[in-house]
Subunit: 337 residues, 2 copies
């Protein structure tokens, strides 16, 4: 496959330029671009520059309001409610993040509920920022329907990621980031394109039966990780990220990809813990004790280590994208909307 290498600055500038000429405000374009480049750098290409064509089309069509200014619409002592205002998720999560970082030391625990929101990309990105402020972060988000209720056959819930981050003494934050489907839908798409079968246990067909045919799987639903227990976690995340925040549920949300239709309007719940009040400042040492007990065993590694290696490499060598995507982006940069 022919590829093109971009420096991080080039990738960011190109992304901003494309979004701005597709009716996104400069401020929002910068926020979105930073998140896309960060995902690309971390090797999470599904949340990286490949999203730009659909993001640009959604901003141009008005499905995403690229000019939206997220607002804090309600407050309690330790909680804020953030209206993403039908815009991109990243500016709303940045606002939530800044607020929580200020509130957390006095409160111990803080949370932001975000609604009228959109695809929030690499979930770990948002909690890693909280961890850089010394907080333990936890985030739940929902997404358009992909998973059926346990025993059912029709998609109700999204793949509903959970991400967690904890600050470390002299290392980058520990980040756990997982969606609750057994595998990403992208893997099924890849198998469908290459004509491969998929392992049983990944997906159900439209009738709710297990299938190894990727085409049948794409018309059906994804199975949750961990079977019935995982399905219960999917429901929990849907309640926390969408029922609690009054956002749209997975079965009500429009696609994150196509420019048609109403805004997806999904939700996120971002939680931060300041360790001090809970641990009398013992947290950092205790965390290292635990992680040492893990790493002392042969064959183990901490979650997110591949991501850190990818990041290191991207800082040295830049970002590699397919020539096809590069040409598409060059074209989008020229389009006068």
């Amino acid at each position: 496959m022919s590829t093109v290498i971009l420096s991080l600055d080039e990738a960011r500038d190109l992304s901003v330029e494309i979004l701005v000429c597709h009716q996104t405000s400069t401020e929002n374009a910068i926020s979105v671009s930073e998140a896309l480049v960060a995902a690309e750098v971390d090797g999470q290409k599904g949340h990286g520059l490949s999203r730009l064509p659909s993001y640009a089309a959604q901003s141009a069509s008005g499905k995403v309001d690229g000019q939206a200014v997220p607002q804090i619409v309600a407050r309690a002592g330790a909680a804020v409610r953030v209206d993403a205002a039908g815009g991109f998720a990243f500016p709303a999560l940045e606002l939530a993040n800044r607020e929580l970082a200020v509130m957390a030391p006095g409160m111990g625990v803080v949370a932001a509920g975000i609604y009228h929101s959109h695809h929030f990309g690499q979930a770990g990105y948002h909690v890693e920022k909280l961890a850089e402020h010394g907080l333990i972060g936890l985030v739940f988000g929902n997404s358009p329907k992909a998973i059926a209720p346990w025993g059912g056959s029709l998609g109700v819930f999204g793949t509903n990621p959970i991400a967690f981050a904890a600050p470390r003494k002299s290392e980058p934050p520990l980040v756990i980031d997982l969606s609750l489907s057994k595998v990403a839908r992208g893997k099924v798409m890849t198998a469908s394109q290459s004509g491969d079968v998929i392992p049983e246990g990944w997906a159900l067909d439209a009738g709710g039966k297990p299938t190894t045919d990727p085409k049948a799987a794409l018309e059906g639903t994804m199975l949750p990780m961990g079977d019935a227990k995982g399905a219960a976690l999917v429901l929990m995340v849907e309640i926390l990220s969408a029922a609690l925040t009054s956002a749209n549920f997975g079965f009500e949300a429009s696609s994150f990809f196509t420019p048609e239709g109403p805004p997806p309007g999904v939700g996120q719940l971002l939680i931060g813990f300041a360790p001090g009040p809970f641990s009398a400042d013992g947290f950092s040492d205790r965390l290292e004790t635990l992680l040492t007990a893990v790493l002392d065993q042969p064959g183990t590694r901490l979650p997110g280590q591949q991501r850190l290696q990818n990041r290191e490499l991207a800082r040295l060598k830049g970002i590699e994208i397919s020539s096809k995507l590069y040409e598409q982006l060059m074209e989008l940069r020229r389009l006068p909307y």
Copy 2:
């Protein structure tokens, strides 16, 4: 199997009597007994009256301080730190629950970290109480080592339950309660006693290899639900319930069963959300919309429904325990400590 039926009052009184004559204060004995009877009523027999002999022995030996008075040792705006003081977990969680219910409406989100704690039984019990106060509850707890880090062979983490509860409009709270091992260790014990093999995927032997031999599994470790993703959740729960609270980790904690050794000293993190500030009072209706979308599909049911049926039945018919356990309890009641 020969069995004995006890009314709920008889079960509670018997439990209190046994604990009190094994050096537990009346107040603590009542708190523990209510939780054990509730678990029994819900059909969670592993967290029910079967625990009494080991609880009584631990209180008598001093491994659990039956006279302990849990204390709030630190506060921030929305957080409390609770020292369970080496006593039973239930009085400490009750204290935390009462505090959180008072704090939550003004704060939106509140949390209690509990340390120097013990077996907290049916995890859903604690969050269901929060839901009865109109809060969404989330609890994480750790337990003595049973699960190895992903890729390793030695137990570091507990089976680390997650429980969640949400208040409903005109139904009992929705409760999700799951441990993060693929199956409960008790199932392996049962297979070991009956001489059956266990399915692959449940457990590893002491060398970290998959095994279908229950005896080898009991010397090894339990596998997490959801493979590597589940293992990451196990680590997350260990950090939230023990690193954040400065409690003992699974690999540091003594057994919840034997009367020897130091106190287990595990931890719990209890979180409550008041829906109002997050949802402008739309939560109840939105939750019903979601649950209706689930139940509209044939073959589905909500988590925790079996528990509610068991509860209904126990209220009508009382609690059924084995004659062997009953005799053991009668004996314990007579022992003068």
